[in-house]
Amino acid sequence: MDLFFFLLFAFIAVACAVSVVLQKHPISCALSLVGTMASLAVLYLLLGAEFIAMVQVIVYAGAIMVLFVFVIMLLNAGEESSKGRSWIAKIAGLPALAALLGILGYAMLTFYPMVGPKASLVHFGDFTGGGAKEIGTALFTEYLLPFEVTSILILIAILGAIVLARKEID
């Protein structure tokens, strides 16, 4: 069962991700990205991260992507023009990507043993420490300072956004 869900949603995630890269219209990209995020949320659930899965859906797939779609519509962004040149991207882009994928994939696949007695496996229900309670406890004890700092970060982001986006007052 685990394997089935993993393969299904991994496939959806990769397909949607490829779609993000290949679609011409930004709206299509954005919707594809929502697909990737949603399937990632399911994978999070499989990994026992209930809270993060919910946040992924609500904040990421919901709020942030809505912001994207909103900006796309606001700017009335159409299909992207194919103007522009980057010889280095053309020449080195694909080989570099292939190398990156190869190295990362290799490293990741060999990171934990897949078979044998020490095999590290993900079985739904093995880990139940990802609930809202556990997260909340950790967030307000061990990670209190980063959490509070985060609020300042967000405040700065808000200010930055306002400053950048406001109409110039002449």
Partner: protein, 662 residues
């Protein structure tokens, strides 16, 4: 248990408050803080004195270890013994009076708070200097007062001559400090410590050559700080600073630091007879030399400045002939009457609206009777008229000098005569006769080319030297932007009160404080000299002759000075121009250094080697950049690709070194 650290700490607090917040505070608050901090400090000194029997039971306090490195172990230690006690009383006592005086004198100046902040900082360093229980702490104070001196000489920093004078003081002092530093190194090598107690008790057992070297290097330091030959040249120029500064730093306290240091190191000096002889000769030569220059100057502060140099020479003479206590006594009485002279001069300058040239004064006794009176007291004291404080201390030194070598006594007596002459010359020129600076009571159509604030005007040595008394001013009138002197006016009481106190001390200081007796336990009294009454008589006679002669020349017979000038001709010009010592130093020391550094350091080293290397690096980078600039396409995707390529290279490198295998 008295907390000695509070004594310097109070002025330092005053400095911090005034220095940081002073700009925002009112003048009343600034002066209250400045004066109070010093007066409280004085009070503390008195209480310390009362509790320790005025240094009878020395206090030594260790606060913390300052430097510990290998064999070096230097603590922040303060100590009070009788010598320190005298210095503390002089510094804080006269310091308090001058602070009070300065509140009146500086009342209309820009940078009021800055002035008092510096003055308090000076007090802090000076107290540190006298309280420090090892040479390094003394050196901290030594350098600190040098810094404050520099800052205060250059107080009118918009004036080129003031900043130049500040630089001169600083640089000349560097030479002396260099000697002092070497002395300290040598002390440390020889004694393994810098504590006064350890060094001085161990001094008798060390080889004479080393002690002589140490003493001579200290003397070099002292000649810088205390303006002795050959490093005295900065002190007359230092009169560019405000007059209270001249009184406090350049007459009463800082310049006596050299005398204090030599007395403090008496144990070393006493074992180094060659060094002692050198000290005596340097002191005596300075005394005569400066006195002759003082005879010819017209700037009232310059006269007193050379007088200070000369009197400091006396103190060194005293130290050099082994009469340390006489030197310290003279230090004290000199602090009284010289501070008074300067502050009186300040009052006169104040009265004349910033004029310092004595040829433009005269007849001031009817406008400024108080100033006239106190200056008369000071002049009597410095002339060594019997009963005044100067008489006792000067006589003590001269007697000791006679015991050492009679010729030194005779030179000293001649100098005393000259001292009496030029100080009274200044007195007569300022207070007697007719007022020569502008028409009293009339509107001032009689301007001069100088714009002036208080101390703010071009100096006598920059003038064309027309030596006639009534030199006609052909200068056009300048708007002074300052309360111009229509009629000379008496100074406010905040200025006069300290003067009166000092006048009392100048007259009675000799009776009140018998320093040699007080210091007997530290410096044994000198053996009796035969014919002491005769010697005393001679020096009194010299002083009186000086006074009489000056009266004769500047009051009774006013044509005489001009005739003497003409008769002396070249010699007069030589002396008037201070023996061209500044020019001589300029030609022999300053020029070669400037030109040498221009040729070797600037053109050769800087332009050739350093600039070459820098330019080479620049050209190299430019040509490499010319190739690499194509990388900076401004294209984000290109940049991103480079990042990916870099990441791949990094990962490969890490992987090759086994970093990806768990």
């Amino acid at each position: 248990m008295q907390n000695l650290w509070l004594i310097p700490a109070l002025p330092f607090i005053g400095f911090l408050i005034n220095g940081i917040l002073g700009r925002k505070l009112s003048k009343a608050v600034v002066s209250a803080i400045a004066v109070l901090s010093v007066v409280l400090s004085f009070g503390l000194v008195v209480s310390v004195g009362l509790s320790s029997g005025w240094g009878e039971h020395p206090i030594h306090q260790h606060y913390f270890t300052w430097i510990r490195s290998g064999g070096v172990d230097i603590g922040w230690d303060f100590m009070v013994d009788k010598l320190t006690m005298i210095m503390l009383m002089v510094v804080t006592g006269i310091g308090s009076l001058i602070h009070i005086y300065a509140t009146g004198y500086m009342a209309h100046e820009e940078g009021y708070y800055r002035f008092f902040a510096y003055l308090n900082l000076f007090m802090f360093f000076m107290l540190n200097l006298v309280l420090g229980a090892n040479y390094l702490l003394l050196f901290v104070g030594w350098e600190g007062v040098g810094l404050c001196s520099y800052l205060l000489i250059g107080f009118y920093f918009v004036k080129k001559s003031a900043t130049t004078a500040g630089n001169k003081a600083f640089i000349v002092n560097r030479i002396g400090d260099f000697g002092f530093s070497l002395a300290m190194f040598l002390i440390f090598i020889t004694f393994g410590s810098l504590d006064f107690g350890k060094v001085l008790s161990a001094a008798p057992g060390k080889p004479v050559e080393v002690l002589t070297a140490i003493a001579l290097l200290m003397l070099l330091g002292a000649t810088g700080k205390s303006a002795q030959i050959p490093l005295y040249v900065w002190l007359p120029d230092a009169m560019e600073g405000p007059t209270p500064v001249s009184a406090l730093i350049h007459a009463a306290t800082m310049v006596t630091a050299g005398v204090y240091m030599c007395s403090r190191s008496a144990a070393i000096f006493l074992k180094a007879p060659i060094a002692m002889e050198t000290v005596a000769i340097v002191g005596l030569a300075t005394a005569v030399f400066a006195a002759t220059i003082g005879l010819t100057q017209y700037d009232i502060k310059k006269v007193f400045a050379y007088s200070t140099v000369s009197q400091l020479g006396y103190m060194f003479l005293g130290v050099g002939v082994g009469a340390f206590s006489a030197g310290i006594w003279h230090l004290m009485t000199h602090a009284f009457f010289k501070a008074l002279l300067f502050m009186g001069a300040g009052s006169v300058i104040h009265a004349c609206g910033g004029e310092q040239d004595m040829r433009k004064m005269g007849g001031l006794k009817k406008y400024t009777p108080w100033t006239c009176g106190v200056l008369a007291c000071a002049s009597l004291a410095i002339a060594g008229v019997p009963g005044t404080s100067g008489f006792f201390s000067k006589d003590a030194i001269l007697t000791a000098a006679y015991g050492h070598a009679p010729w030194m006594f005779w030179v000293g007596v001649v100098t005393a005569g000259m001292t009496a002459f030029y100080v009274w010359r200044a007195f007569w020129m300022t207070f007697w006769g007719e007022y020569r600076g502008g028409d009293a009571g009339h509107s001032h159509d009689h301007g001069h080319a100088h714009t002036h604030g208080h101390d703010d005007h071009a100096h006598a040595h920059n003038h064309s030297h027309d030596h006639d008394h009534d030199h006609g001013h052909s200068h056009s009138h300048d708007d002074h932007g300052h309360d111009h002197h229509g009629t000379p006016h008496e100074s406010p009481w905040s200025m006069l009160a300290p003067l009166v106190v000092l006048a009392f001390l100048s007259l009675a200081g000799g009776f009140l404080f018998n320093v040699p007796k007080f210091l007997e336990s530290m410096f044994p009294l000198h053996e009796e000299v035969p014919n002491e009454e005769m010697l005393m008589g001679v020096s009194i006679f010299a002083g009186l002759i000086g006074i009489a002669l000056s009266y004769f020349m500047y009051v009774a017979n006013k044509e005489l000075p001009g005739k003497i000038r003409k008769a002396l001709g070249g010699i007069y010009t030589l002396v008037y121009n201070k023996y061209f010592v500044d020019e001589f130093y300029d030609a022999t020391v300053v020029r070669p250094i400037i030109e040498g550094s221009t040729e070797v350091l600037w053109h050769g080293l800087d332009q050739g080697v350093i600039d070459g290397a820098v330019n080479g690096a620049g050209t190299g980078s430019r040509s490499i950049g010319g190739v690499l600039k194509h990388l900076q396409s401004g294209n984000i995707r290109s940049y991103a690709t480079w990042v990916v390529v870099g990441a791949v290279i990094l990962l490969i490198t890490v992987g090759m070194n086994g970093g990806l295998i768990r």
